[in-house]
């Protein structure tokens, strides 16, 4: 049959070629969808808005209550006139207690600026200026704090919040897309055509990889634009720490996604209609939601038992470990061990998912039980 020239080609373009084709289709078709472009646009807009708003609010009408050396504080208050910051002189009995409970922001005592944490830079500048107006050339005010200073405490709290929020959103969104994509193929019955020429595992891998790359690209875009805007508005200095935090978020997205995407693919393979998807997907979305809240508990107590336990549970680690890395409250061995556990769990899950997927993908009708799908894939 000489006219069948294609027969002499490598069938299926090789295993990797096939997975690549599937992944490329996912990327291409997704990015051509209006809904995707719109939702990405909205995400970016929200991030830009949050950063710009934070920058505006940060320097807008803040009033600092300062106790202690009256002359210096009043001079500072005068210096503050005409700026958008106010310095309000107040009197308190117990400076330390007032600082602790937050009723004052700072105090001038014995030629020092005393505050609970690191005082805001603009307040320090105003107080220094006030001090300079006191006739004799005084030594510049020293800063002392009630609690030990972590220079980047605020920034770190901000990063961790941002990272946890974004990882949570990405895992949920892209996990859902994997499920929805699988169900779309089942519901439209195109899967029977596709599986007559490629293996279920290839289709699964291509879909997971394609959507994962899209999620990674989406994160890069968000970070790129977010960091760019933050730099432009002066909200953030782009340094190694910031870039490190961003890189970390990307890395844990890959790990967390690898784990969850396989599970979401199974959830999709078990049902035949989008309406039934919620039922099989709920355990997974709940897992992600619980991890999200655990991540904040861990952030507040990064060396607690909860922090150490959740680092070794593959479902929770992708959200609970990154905050601890940012705040530096996790030893290197624990990071490595947590990664090994999570990646290992994903690696174990992939063949299981492939089998459940293969067993469920051609079954139609009501939602399948996991066990039935497992059995259906006997060959």
């Amino acid at each position: 049959m000489s006219r069948r020239g294609a027969a002499s080609q490598a069938p299926g373009g090789g295993v990797n070629g096939t997975v690549g084709l599937v992944a490329k289709r996912e990327l291409r078709e997704r990015t051509r969808e209006k809904s995707f472009l719109i939702s990405t646009g909205i995400n970016v807009a929200i991030i830009v808005a949050v950063i710009v708003l934070a920058a505006v609010l940060d320097s807008d009408g803040t009033t600092y209550k300062v106790a202690g050396d009256r002359a210096v504080v009043e001079a500072a208050a005068q210096a503050a006139e005409g700026t958008d910051v106010k310095v309000l002189p107040v009197s308190v009995d117990d400076v330390r207690a007032a600082l602790e409970d937050g009723s004052i922001d700072a105090a001038i005592q014995d030629g020092r600026i005393v505050s609970k944490d690191k005082p805001p830079d603009d307040l320090v500048a105003l107080l220094q200026a006030g001090n300079l107006t006191q006739g004799k050339p005084p030594p510049p005010l020293q800063v002392s704090t009630v609690e030990p200073v972590d220079e980047d405490a605020d920034a770190k709290a901000g990063y961790t919040f941002f990272i946890v929020l974004i990882l949570y959103g990405q895992l949920l969104t892209y996990g859902y897309w994997v499920s929805a994509g699988v169900v779309e193929e089942k519901a439209s019955r195109v899967v029977e055509v596709v599986l007559s020429t490629i293996r279920p595992a290839q289709l699964l891998a291509g879909k997971v990889i394609g959507l994962g790359l899209l999620g990674l690209g989406n994160l890069l875009l968000i970070f790129g634009i977010g960091l760019g805007v933050a730099k432009a508005t002066g909200a953030l200095d782009i340094d190694g720490a910031v870039l490190g935090a961003a890189a970390l978020a990307l890395a844990w997205f890959v790990v967390g996604y690898a784990f969850y995407a396989c599970a979401f693919a199974c959830a999709g393979a078990l049902v035949s209609r989008q309406e039934d998807l919620q039922s099989t997907m709920t355990p997974l979305t709940v897992m992600i939601l619980v991890s999200f809240f655990l991540a904040f508990a861990v952030r507040d107590n990064p060396d607690g038992t909860l922090a150490h336990i959740t680092a070794f549970i593959p479902m929770t680690a992708p959200l609970t470990v990154p905050p601890r890395i940012v705040t530096g409250d996790i030893p290197a061995w624990e990071i490595v061990a947590s990664l090994v556990v999570t990646v290992g769990a994903a690696a174990l899950l992939i063949p299981i998912a492939a089998r459940i997927y293969a067993g469920g993908i051609l079954r139609t009708g009501s939602a399948l039980k996991l066990r039935d799908a497992w059995r259906a894939a006997r060959a």
Binding site: R4, E33, R189, V191, V193, L362
Partner: protein
Amino acid sequence: MLELRDLARRYGDVVALDGVSFTVGAGQMFGFVGPNGAGKTTAMRIILGVLAADRGEVLFEGRPVTFERRTRFGYMPEERGLYPKMRVRDQLVYLARLHGMDAAAAGRAADTWIERLGLTDRAGDRVEALSLGNQQRVQLAAALVHDPELLVLDEPFSGLDPVGVDVLSAVLADYAATGVPVVFSSHQLELVERLCEAVAIIKDGRLVASGAVEELRDRGADHRRVRVEVAADDAWVPPGAEVVSRDGRGIVLALLDPTTPDAVLDAARAAGSVTHFSLERPTLTDLFREAVAA
């Protein structure tokens, strides 16, 4: 040449196929018929490797079918399936590439079939935006776009209007003429009889009959039934025969024992000039009814 050997498959307690064997020759149009639930779709899915058989094997050109070989088969499933949001040409190129064609060849093949099936104006539309008839054409193109060595179609004619039936028949006949076995299932038995050289009839997962259509009809020729065209009214019909049908030119008689065809012919000749006398051959529909009723 495609050969099914003793295929069996059950779903739980339900036996879908129970030892089905038949052969489809190169370039042969092969009809696969049977009542609903007889196991046609199961057999086709096994041929395509979408489903595994519990027993038996599928051979193509004398060798067991491998995964690589299957990528060279073309398939139109009963439940039509295309990516609803994907554009027609993109979809065909994608499927061709999944079947192992390189990008350039896939593009050329997609364009060829788009033109051949009159979809040129629709090439850039999403599949979901097409009429059902056009979606059906895209589905056919999807089965053919990679120039398969075997074509398997599950109920390809269902839902088509008469023009669509003609177009599809012509495409399939042309394709078979290139030396490719074409297997399709259908409930439209007259169509199968007209298009197919050979058929397989299955019922309850078992093969009832298979082989060349003409042979099956000859073999099933009912010697108790004759067709007579004679220039006389029905008064000549002997008491041992009953008129079962008639048309403008003749009548079909069912013979009751011990009446023989010879006796009927003698009676007819005595009545007038006989222009036609034949033993009735059953149509495929008759064979089917008989097989299914048994």
